[in-house]
Protein backbone atom coordinates (compact mmCIF):
# COMPACT_ATOMS: atom_id res chain seq x y z
CA UNK A 1 0.00 0.00 0.00
CA UNK A 2 1.40 3.35 -0.99
CA UNK A 3 1.32 5.96 1.74
CA UNK A 4 0.73 9.60 0.99
CA UNK A 5 1.50 12.81 2.83
CA UNK A 6 -1.34 15.20 2.19
CA UNK A 7 -0.05 18.31 3.91
CA UNK A 8 1.38 21.25 2.01
CA UNK A 9 2.74 22.92 5.13
CA UNK A 10 4.12 21.79 8.42
CA UNK A 11 2.54 24.32 10.74
CA UNK A 12 2.30 22.12 13.79
CA UNK A 13 1.84 18.60 15.09
CA UNK A 14 -1.77 19.56 15.81
CA UNK A 15 -2.65 19.16 12.12
CA UNK A 16 -0.97 15.75 11.72
CA UNK A 17 -2.44 12.30 12.19
CA UNK A 18 -0.50 9.42 13.74
CA UNK A 19 0.02 7.90 10.28
CA UNK A 20 1.57 11.15 9.02
CA UNK A 21 3.99 11.11 11.92
CA UNK A 22 4.93 7.48 11.34
CA UNK A 23 5.49 8.20 7.66
CA UNK A 24 7.83 11.06 8.56
CA UNK A 25 9.69 8.92 11.06
CA UNK A 26 10.15 6.12 8.52
CA UNK A 27 11.33 8.54 5.88
CA UNK A 28 13.73 10.13 8.38
CA UNK A 29 15.41 6.75 8.89
CA UNK A 30 16.25 6.71 5.16
CA UNK A 31 17.63 10.21 5.26
CA UNK A 32 19.70 9.37 8.30
CA UNK A 33 21.74 7.07 6.07
CA UNK A 34 22.57 9.86 3.63
CA UNK A 35 24.35 11.74 6.41
CA UNK A 36 26.58 8.67 6.88
CA UNK A 37 27.64 8.48 3.22
CA UNK A 38 31.10 9.57 2.12
CA UNK A 39 29.45 12.17 -0.10
CA UNK A 40 26.65 13.50 2.08
CA UNK A 41 24.51 14.87 -0.68
CA UNK A 42 21.77 13.77 -3.04
CA UNK A 43 20.57 15.82 -6.00
CA UNK A 44 16.88 15.59 -5.14
CA UNK A 45 16.12 19.28 -4.51
CA UNK A 46 18.32 20.70 -7.26
CA UNK A 47 16.78 23.94 -8.44
CA UNK A 48 14.52 24.24 -5.40
CA UNK A 49 14.83 27.27 -3.19
CA UNK A 50 14.53 27.04 0.57
CA UNK A 51 14.45 30.26 2.57
CA UNK A 52 15.33 30.01 6.24
CA UNK A 53 13.54 32.98 7.73
CA UNK A 54 14.75 33.25 11.29
CA UNK A 55 13.33 36.21 13.12
CA UNK A 56 14.40 35.02 16.52
CA UNK A 57 17.90 34.04 17.47
CA UNK A 58 18.67 30.41 16.84
CA UNK A 59 21.86 28.70 15.88
CA UNK A 60 21.16 25.02 16.09
CA UNK A 61 17.75 24.81 14.48
CA UNK A 62 18.78 27.11 11.68
CA UNK A 63 21.99 25.18 11.18
CA UNK A 64 20.11 21.92 11.16
CA UNK A 65 17.68 23.14 8.50
CA UNK A 66 20.53 24.59 6.47
CA UNK A 67 22.45 21.31 6.47
CA UNK A 68 19.28 19.38 5.69
CA UNK A 69 18.55 21.60 2.68
CA UNK A 70 22.09 21.48 1.41
CA UNK A 71 22.36 17.69 1.70
CA UNK A 72 19.32 17.59 -0.57
CA UNK A 73 21.03 20.03 -3.01
CA UNK A 74 18.48 22.80 -2.48
CA UNK A 75 19.55 26.41 -2.72
CA UNK A 76 19.31 27.51 0.89
CA UNK A 77 19.11 31.19 1.72
CA UNK A 78 19.29 32.37 5.31
CA UNK A 79 17.44 35.51 6.25
CA UNK A 80 17.60 36.88 9.73
CA UNK A 81 15.78 39.76 11.26
CA UNK A 82 14.91 40.86 14.76
CA UNK A 83 11.23 40.23 14.13
CA UNK A 84 10.25 43.04 16.43
CA UNK A 85 7.00 44.42 15.15
CA UNK A 86 7.53 47.08 12.52
CA UNK A 87 10.78 48.12 14.16
CA UNK A 88 12.08 48.98 10.72
CA UNK A 89 8.69 50.00 9.47
CA UNK A 90 8.35 46.69 7.69
CA UNK A 91 5.58 44.41 8.85
CA UNK A 92 5.56 40.65 8.64
CA UNK A 93 3.09 41.02 5.78
CA UNK A 94 5.56 43.20 3.85
CA UNK A 95 8.21 40.62 4.48
CA UNK A 96 5.94 37.81 3.32
CA UNK A 97 5.12 39.64 0.11
CA UNK A 98 8.78 40.32 -0.57
CA UNK A 99 9.67 36.70 0.00
CA UNK A 100 6.82 35.60 -2.22
CA UNK A 101 8.16 37.74 -5.04
CA UNK A 102 11.33 35.63 -4.99
CA UNK A 103 9.35 32.44 -5.63
CA UNK A 104 10.74 30.19 -2.93
CA UNK A 105 9.55 26.59 -2.82
CA UNK A 106 9.83 26.27 0.94
CA UNK A 107 9.99 28.90 3.66
CA UNK A 108 11.23 27.73 7.04
CA UNK A 109 10.16 30.23 9.67
CA UNK A 110 11.15 30.88 13.25
CA UNK A 111 9.47 33.76 15.03
CA UNK A 112 8.87 34.95 18.58
CA UNK A 113 5.10 35.23 17.97
CA UNK A 114 2.72 32.27 17.97
CA UNK A 115 0.84 31.75 14.72
CA UNK A 116 3.47 33.22 12.42
CA UNK A 117 3.68 30.07 10.33
CA UNK A 118 -0.12 30.12 9.94
CA UNK A 119 0.09 33.77 8.94
CA UNK A 120 2.70 33.12 6.26
CA UNK A 121 0.80 30.12 4.93
CA UNK A 122 -2.10 32.46 4.21
CA UNK A 123 0.05 34.98 2.37
CA UNK A 124 2.62 32.88 0.49
CA UNK A 125 2.41 30.25 -2.23
CA UNK A 126 5.44 28.43 -0.84
CA UNK A 127 5.22 25.54 1.57
CA UNK A 128 5.71 26.80 5.11
CA UNK A 129 7.66 24.86 7.70
CA UNK A 130 7.28 26.02 11.27
CA UNK A 131 10.67 26.07 12.97
CA UNK A 132 9.21 27.41 16.20
CA UNK A 133 6.54 30.07 16.69
CA UNK A 134 6.43 31.74 20.06
CA UNK A 135 5.08 29.43 22.72
CA UNK A 136 2.99 27.53 20.21
CA UNK A 137 4.74 24.69 18.40
CA UNK A 138 8.09 23.39 17.23
CA UNK A 139 7.00 20.41 15.15
CA UNK A 140 10.35 19.31 13.72
CA UNK A 141 11.78 19.14 17.25
CA UNK A 142 8.90 16.87 18.29
CA UNK A 143 9.49 14.66 15.25
CA UNK A 144 13.18 14.31 15.99
CA UNK A 145 12.33 13.55 19.61
CA UNK A 146 9.93 10.84 18.45
CA UNK A 147 12.55 9.43 16.08
CA UNK A 148 15.10 9.30 18.89
CA UNK A 149 12.62 7.68 21.27
CA UNK A 150 11.62 5.10 18.67
CA UNK A 151 15.24 4.11 18.08
CA UNK A 152 15.63 3.30 21.77
CA UNK A 153 12.16 2.11 22.72
CA UNK A 154 11.00 0.57 19.42
CA UNK A 155 7.36 1.57 19.98
CA UNK A 156 5.29 4.27 21.62
CA UNK A 157 2.28 2.35 22.88
CA UNK A 158 2.20 2.50 26.67
CA UNK A 159 5.49 4.40 26.94
CA UNK A 160 5.67 6.71 29.96
CA UNK A 161 7.23 10.06 29.07
CA UNK A 162 7.97 12.65 31.75
CA UNK A 163 8.29 16.24 30.53
CA UNK A 164 9.70 18.45 33.24
CA UNK A 165 10.13 22.10 34.10
CA UNK A 166 8.94 25.16 32.21
CA UNK A 167 6.11 23.64 30.19
CA UNK A 168 4.20 26.94 29.93
CA UNK A 169 6.67 28.71 27.73
CA UNK A 170 7.85 25.65 25.82
CA UNK A 171 6.75 25.15 22.24
CA UNK A 172 8.80 21.95 22.31
CA UNK A 173 6.69 20.60 25.15
CA UNK A 174 3.48 21.45 23.33
CA UNK A 175 4.55 19.70 20.14
CA UNK A 176 5.98 16.71 22.02
CA UNK A 177 2.80 16.29 24.04
CA UNK A 178 0.68 16.36 20.90
CA UNK A 179 2.95 14.03 18.92
CA UNK A 180 3.62 11.46 21.61
CA UNK A 181 -0.03 11.35 22.65
CA UNK A 182 -1.06 10.73 19.05
CA UNK A 183 1.46 7.88 18.85
CA UNK A 184 0.06 6.21 21.96
CA UNK A 185 2.56 7.26 24.64
CA UNK A 186 1.45 8.52 28.03
CA UNK A 187 2.63 11.94 29.09
CA UNK A 188 3.33 13.19 32.57
CA UNK A 189 4.37 16.74 33.23
CA UNK A 190 5.75 18.28 36.40
CA UNK A 191 7.13 21.59 37.45
CA UNK A 192 6.14 24.57 39.56
CA UNK A 193 2.49 25.43 38.90
CA UNK A 194 3.56 28.89 37.75
CA UNK A 195 5.24 27.19 34.79
CA UNK A 196 2.49 24.71 33.90
CA UNK A 197 -0.18 25.88 31.45
CA UNK A 198 -3.76 25.32 32.47
CA UNK A 199 -5.99 22.70 30.91
CA UNK A 200 -3.25 20.18 30.13
CA UNK A 201 -5.36 17.39 31.60
CA UNK A 202 -7.84 17.78 28.76
CA UNK A 203 -5.03 16.85 26.35
CA UNK A 204 -4.73 13.55 28.21
CA UNK A 205 -1.69 14.63 30.20
CA UNK A 206 -1.09 13.64 33.81
CA UNK A 207 0.03 16.65 35.84
CA UNK A 208 2.25 16.33 38.92
CA UNK A 209 3.50 18.98 41.32
CA UNK A 210 6.76 17.28 42.19
CA UNK A 211 9.05 15.91 39.53
CA UNK A 212 9.89 12.83 41.59
CA UNK A 213 6.34 11.55 41.07
CA UNK A 214 6.54 12.19 37.34
CA UNK A 215 9.93 10.52 36.93
CA UNK A 216 9.00 7.41 38.89
CA UNK A 217 8.81 4.49 36.47
CA UNK A 218 9.22 6.70 33.37
CA UNK A 219 10.75 5.35 30.15
CA UNK A 220 11.75 8.78 28.90
CA UNK A 221 12.79 11.78 31.00
CA UNK A 222 12.81 15.08 29.21
CA UNK A 223 14.07 18.23 30.88
CA UNK A 224 13.04 21.56 29.35
CA UNK A 225 15.17 24.65 29.15
CA UNK A 226 14.50 27.23 31.85
CA UNK A 227 14.94 30.66 30.43
CA UNK A 228 16.64 33.33 32.43
CA UNK A 229 13.71 35.70 32.15
CA UNK A 230 11.36 33.38 34.10
CA UNK A 231 13.13 34.44 37.25
CA UNK A 232 12.99 38.10 36.29
CA UNK A 233 9.30 37.95 35.52
CA UNK A 234 8.57 36.55 38.95
CA UNK A 235 7.36 33.10 37.98
CA UNK A 236 9.93 31.40 40.19
CA UNK A 237 11.91 32.74 43.14
CA UNK A 238 15.23 31.90 41.52
CA UNK A 239 17.30 29.40 39.59
CA UNK A 240 18.90 28.00 42.72
CA UNK A 241 15.58 27.04 44.22
CA UNK A 242 14.32 25.77 40.87
CA UNK A 243 17.30 23.51 40.48
CA UNK A 244 16.90 22.19 44.02
CA UNK A 245 13.25 21.19 43.57
CA UNK A 246 12.86 20.70 39.84
CA UNK A 247 16.30 19.91 38.41
CA UNK A 248 16.93 16.44 36.95
CA UNK A 249 19.90 14.91 38.76
CA UNK A 250 21.15 11.38 39.26
CA UNK A 251 19.25 10.70 42.46
CA UNK A 252 15.96 11.72 40.86
CA UNK A 253 16.78 9.89 37.65
CA UNK A 254 17.23 6.72 39.71
CA UNK A 255 13.44 6.73 40.16
CA UNK A 256 12.92 6.16 36.42
CA UNK A 257 13.00 2.75 34.75
CA UNK A 258 16.53 1.29 34.64
CA UNK A 259 16.65 1.68 30.84
CA UNK A 260 15.13 5.15 30.78
CA UNK A 261 16.64 7.67 28.39
CA UNK A 262 17.23 11.35 29.09
CA UNK A 263 16.41 14.03 26.56
CA UNK A 264 16.71 17.81 26.34
CA UNK A 265 15.77 20.05 23.40
CA UNK A 266 18.79 22.26 24.03
CA UNK A 267 20.46 24.53 24.61
CA UNK A 268 20.98 23.24 28.14
CA UNK A 269 21.51 25.18 31.33
CA UNK A 270 23.72 22.63 33.05
CA UNK A 271 23.13 22.82 36.76
CA UNK A 272 19.69 24.40 36.46
CA UNK A 273 17.12 22.09 34.86
CA UNK A 274 19.59 19.25 34.35
CA UNK A 275 22.73 18.32 36.26
CA UNK A 276 25.98 17.91 34.30
CA UNK A 277 26.26 14.22 35.30
CA UNK A 278 22.86 13.51 33.82
CA UNK A 279 23.34 15.65 30.72
CA UNK A 280 26.59 13.90 29.84
CA UNK A 281 25.73 10.57 31.45
CA UNK A 282 25.19 7.17 29.85
CA UNK A 283 21.43 7.56 29.57
CA UNK A 284 21.61 10.87 27.75
CA UNK A 285 20.58 10.70 24.10
CA UNK A 286 20.83 14.45 23.63
CA UNK A 287 23.37 14.29 20.81
CA UNK A 288 21.37 11.63 18.97
CA UNK A 289 18.50 14.11 19.00
CA UNK A 290 20.72 16.51 17.08
CA UNK A 291 21.66 13.85 14.51
CA UNK A 292 18.03 12.94 13.96
CA UNK A 293 17.27 16.63 13.65
CA UNK A 294 19.01 16.80 10.29
CA UNK A 295 17.36 13.61 9.01
CA UNK A 296 13.87 14.70 10.08
CA UNK A 297 14.33 18.09 8.45
CA UNK A 298 15.55 16.46 5.24
CA UNK A 299 12.40 14.36 5.20
CA UNK A 300 10.25 17.43 5.74
CA UNK A 301 12.00 19.53 3.09
CA UNK A 302 11.77 16.64 0.63
CA UNK A 303 8.02 16.30 1.09
CA UNK A 304 7.39 20.05 1.19
CA UNK A 305 9.47 20.98 -1.84
CA UNK A 306 7.56 18.50 -3.93
CA UNK A 307 4.08 19.54 -2.88
CA UNK A 308 2.12 21.48 -5.45
CA UNK A 309 0.66 24.85 -4.61
CA UNK A 310 -2.27 24.17 -6.87
CA UNK A 311 -3.47 21.30 -4.76
Amino acid sequence: MTRTFKHRHLLGIEELEAEDIFLLLDLSERFLEISERPLKKVPTLRGKTVINLFMESSTRTRGSFEIAGKRLSADVINQSSSGSSSSKGETLLDMAKNLGAMNPDVVVVRHRAAGTAHFLSRHLDASIVNAGDGMHEHPTQALLDCATIRRHKKQFEGLEVAILGDVSHSRVARSDILALTKLGARIRVAGPRTLLPIGLESLGVEVFDRIESAIEGADVVMALRLQEERQRSGLIPGNREFSRFFGVDNSRLALAKPDAIVMHPGPMNRGVEISPEVADGPRSVILEQVTYGVAVRMAILYLMAGSESTE
Binding site: F5, L39, V42, P43, G306, E308
Partner: protein, 191 residues
Protein backbone atom coordinates in the same frame (compact mmCIF):
# COMPACT_ATOMS: atom_id res chain seq x y z
CA UNK B 1 0.83 -7.75 -6.58
CA UNK B 2 -0.26 -10.74 -8.64
CA UNK B 3 -0.73 -10.72 -12.41
CA UNK B 4 -4.49 -11.03 -12.07
CA UNK B 5 -5.13 -7.99 -9.89
CA UNK B 6 -4.25 -4.35 -9.50
CA UNK B 7 -3.38 -3.72 -13.11
CA UNK B 8 -6.02 -1.11 -13.82
CA UNK B 9 -6.37 -0.52 -17.53
CA UNK B 10 -3.87 -3.22 -18.48
CA UNK B 11 -4.67 -6.41 -20.37
CA UNK B 12 -2.33 -9.38 -20.16
CA UNK B 13 -0.83 -10.13 -23.58
CA UNK B 14 1.59 -12.91 -22.89
CA UNK B 15 3.88 -14.59 -20.42
CA UNK B 16 7.43 -13.59 -21.33
CA UNK B 17 9.08 -15.87 -18.79
CA UNK B 18 7.66 -18.43 -16.35
CA UNK B 19 9.31 -19.87 -13.25
CA UNK B 20 11.61 -22.12 -15.21
CA UNK B 21 12.33 -19.45 -17.78
CA UNK B 22 13.48 -17.00 -15.11
CA UNK B 23 15.61 -19.65 -13.43
CA UNK B 24 17.30 -20.60 -16.71
CA UNK B 25 17.83 -16.98 -17.70
CA UNK B 26 19.49 -16.10 -14.38
CA UNK B 27 21.73 -19.16 -14.66
CA UNK B 28 22.87 -18.19 -18.12
CA UNK B 29 23.44 -14.58 -16.97
CA UNK B 30 25.56 -15.93 -14.14
CA UNK B 31 27.61 -18.03 -16.55
CA UNK B 32 28.21 -14.99 -18.76
CA UNK B 33 29.34 -12.98 -15.73
CA UNK B 34 31.81 -15.67 -14.70
CA UNK B 35 33.20 -15.92 -18.21
CA UNK B 36 33.56 -12.15 -18.53
CA UNK B 37 35.62 -11.60 -15.38
CA UNK B 38 38.97 -13.10 -14.30
CA UNK B 39 38.68 -15.12 -11.05
CA UNK B 40 40.30 -12.52 -8.78
CA UNK B 41 38.06 -9.61 -9.82
CA UNK B 42 36.72 -7.54 -6.89
CA UNK B 43 33.04 -7.75 -7.80
CA UNK B 44 30.19 -5.87 -6.12
CA UNK B 45 26.70 -6.84 -7.30
CA UNK B 46 24.30 -3.95 -6.77
CA UNK B 47 20.57 -4.36 -7.27
CA UNK B 48 18.26 -1.44 -7.93
CA UNK B 49 15.47 -1.32 -5.34
CA UNK B 50 13.21 -3.27 -5.39
CA UNK B 51 13.04 -5.78 -8.26
CA UNK B 52 16.70 -5.45 -9.18
CA UNK B 53 17.72 -5.97 -5.57
CA UNK B 54 16.02 -9.37 -5.42
CA UNK B 55 17.59 -10.43 -8.71
CA UNK B 56 21.02 -9.23 -7.54
CA UNK B 57 20.64 -11.34 -4.45
CA UNK B 58 19.75 -14.41 -6.56
CA UNK B 59 22.68 -13.81 -8.90
CA UNK B 60 25.06 -13.46 -5.94
CA UNK B 61 23.82 -16.82 -4.63
CA UNK B 62 24.28 -18.46 -8.03
CA UNK B 63 27.80 -17.02 -8.28
CA UNK B 64 28.59 -18.37 -4.80
CA UNK B 65 27.35 -21.84 -5.86
CA UNK B 66 29.82 -21.64 -8.71
CA UNK B 67 32.61 -20.77 -6.32
CA UNK B 68 32.70 -17.04 -7.06
CA UNK B 69 32.25 -14.93 -3.93
CA UNK B 70 31.06 -11.38 -4.45
CA UNK B 71 29.84 -8.49 -2.31
CA UNK B 72 26.17 -7.58 -2.50
CA UNK B 73 24.57 -4.16 -2.22
CA UNK B 74 21.43 -2.34 -3.16
CA UNK B 75 20.49 1.18 -4.03
CA UNK B 76 17.25 3.11 -4.10
CA UNK B 77 17.23 5.75 -6.79
CA UNK B 78 14.15 7.72 -5.68
CA UNK B 79 16.21 10.72 -4.61
CA UNK B 80 18.11 10.69 -7.90
CA UNK B 81 15.16 10.43 -10.25
CA UNK B 82 14.72 13.14 -12.86
CA UNK B 83 10.95 12.94 -12.39
CA UNK B 84 10.92 12.93 -8.58
CA UNK B 85 8.66 15.97 -8.40
CA UNK B 86 6.41 15.15 -11.33
CA UNK B 87 3.15 14.38 -9.63
CA UNK B 88 3.12 13.97 -5.88
CA UNK B 89 6.35 13.50 -3.97
CA UNK B 90 7.05 9.88 -3.17
CA UNK B 91 6.87 9.45 0.55
CA UNK B 92 8.46 5.99 0.23
CA UNK B 93 12.21 6.03 -0.14
CA UNK B 94 13.84 2.59 -0.17
CA UNK B 95 17.08 1.63 1.52
CA UNK B 96 20.51 2.09 -0.02
CA UNK B 97 23.09 -0.35 1.34
CA UNK B 98 26.59 -0.21 -0.05
CA UNK B 99 29.99 -1.08 1.43
CA UNK B 100 31.79 1.83 3.01
CA UNK B 101 33.99 2.13 -0.05
CA UNK B 102 33.26 1.17 -3.64
CA UNK B 103 36.53 2.56 -5.01
CA UNK B 104 38.29 0.18 -7.42
CA UNK B 105 35.49 -2.36 -7.47
CA UNK B 106 33.87 -3.89 -10.53
CA UNK B 107 30.21 -3.16 -10.06
CA UNK B 108 27.55 -5.30 -11.68
CA UNK B 109 24.43 -3.14 -11.59
CA UNK B 110 21.30 -5.32 -11.73
CA UNK B 111 17.79 -4.29 -12.73
CA UNK B 112 14.74 -6.27 -13.74
CA UNK B 113 13.61 -4.44 -16.89
CA UNK B 114 15.65 -2.08 -19.08
CA UNK B 115 13.34 0.41 -20.80
CA UNK B 116 14.10 4.13 -21.21
CA UNK B 117 17.43 3.95 -19.39
CA UNK B 118 16.48 6.72 -16.98
CA UNK B 119 16.53 4.47 -13.93
CA UNK B 120 20.03 3.29 -14.84
CA UNK B 121 21.13 6.90 -15.34
CA UNK B 122 19.90 7.72 -11.81
CA UNK B 123 21.63 4.64 -10.40
CA UNK B 124 24.93 5.57 -12.08
CA UNK B 125 24.77 9.07 -10.59
CA UNK B 126 24.13 7.66 -7.17
CA UNK B 127 26.98 5.12 -7.45
CA UNK B 128 29.45 7.78 -8.56
CA UNK B 129 28.50 9.83 -5.48
CA UNK B 130 29.72 6.93 -3.36
CA UNK B 131 33.17 6.77 -4.89
CA UNK B 132 35.13 5.83 -7.99
CA UNK B 133 34.58 2.19 -8.99
CA UNK B 134 36.92 0.46 -11.43
CA UNK B 135 33.98 0.01 -13.80
CA UNK B 136 30.20 -0.38 -13.78
CA UNK B 137 28.48 -3.02 -15.91
CA UNK B 138 24.79 -3.48 -16.37
CA UNK B 139 22.91 -6.77 -16.16
CA UNK B 140 19.16 -6.94 -16.80
CA UNK B 141 16.62 -9.72 -16.88
CA UNK B 142 14.57 -8.20 -19.71
CA UNK B 143 15.49 -5.59 -22.32
CA UNK B 144 12.33 -4.21 -23.87
CA UNK B 145 13.88 -1.45 -26.00
CA UNK B 146 12.74 2.20 -26.43
CA UNK B 147 15.80 3.83 -24.85
CA UNK B 148 15.68 7.56 -24.22
CA UNK B 149 19.33 7.76 -23.18
CA UNK B 150 22.51 6.24 -24.68
CA UNK B 151 22.59 3.33 -22.24
CA UNK B 152 23.03 -0.35 -23.10
CA UNK B 153 23.19 -3.49 -20.96
CA UNK B 154 26.36 -5.58 -20.85
CA UNK B 155 24.44 -8.71 -19.89
CA UNK B 156 20.90 -9.31 -21.10
CA UNK B 157 18.64 -12.19 -20.08
CA UNK B 158 16.02 -11.86 -22.81
CA UNK B 159 15.27 -9.15 -25.34
CA UNK B 160 11.67 -8.66 -26.42
CA UNK B 161 9.87 -6.57 -29.00
CA UNK B 162 7.42 -4.11 -27.44
CA UNK B 163 5.53 -0.95 -28.26
CA UNK B 164 5.45 2.07 -25.96
CA UNK B 165 1.93 1.16 -24.91
CA UNK B 166 3.16 -2.12 -23.52
CA UNK B 167 4.07 -2.66 -19.93
CA UNK B 168 6.48 -5.33 -18.77
CA UNK B 169 6.28 -6.45 -15.18
CA UNK B 170 8.47 -8.84 -13.26
CA UNK B 171 6.84 -10.72 -10.38
CA UNK B 172 9.11 -12.39 -7.85
CA UNK B 173 8.26 -14.46 -4.80
CA UNK B 174 10.47 -12.16 -2.69
CA UNK B 175 7.98 -9.36 -3.34
CA UNK B 176 5.07 -11.51 -2.25
CA UNK B 177 4.01 -12.94 -5.61
CA UNK B 178 2.81 -16.55 -5.58
CA UNK B 179 5.30 -17.49 -8.29
CA UNK B 180 8.01 -15.94 -10.44
CA UNK B 181 6.74 -14.59 -13.78
CA UNK B 182 7.42 -11.90 -16.34
CA UNK B 183 4.26 -10.63 -18.04
CA UNK B 184 3.73 -8.35 -21.02
CA UNK B 185 0.64 -6.16 -20.76
CA UNK B 186 -1.12 -3.89 -23.19
CA UNK B 187 -2.95 -0.73 -22.25
CA UNK B 188 -6.71 -1.28 -22.42
CA UNK B 189 -7.64 2.12 -23.82
CA UNK B 190 -5.07 3.28 -26.33
CA UNK B 191 -6.66 6.57 -27.16
Amino acid sequence: MTPSEGNGGLVERKVVLDVVGIENTLESLTRELIEAHPPDTDILVVGIHTGGAHLASRIASLLAKNGVSVELGMIDITLYRDDVFIGLPRPEVGPTQLPSSIAGKTIILVDDVLFTGRTVRSALDELIDYGRPHCVQLAVLVDRGHRELPIQADFVGVSIETTRQHSVRVYLTESGSPEDRVILYESENRS
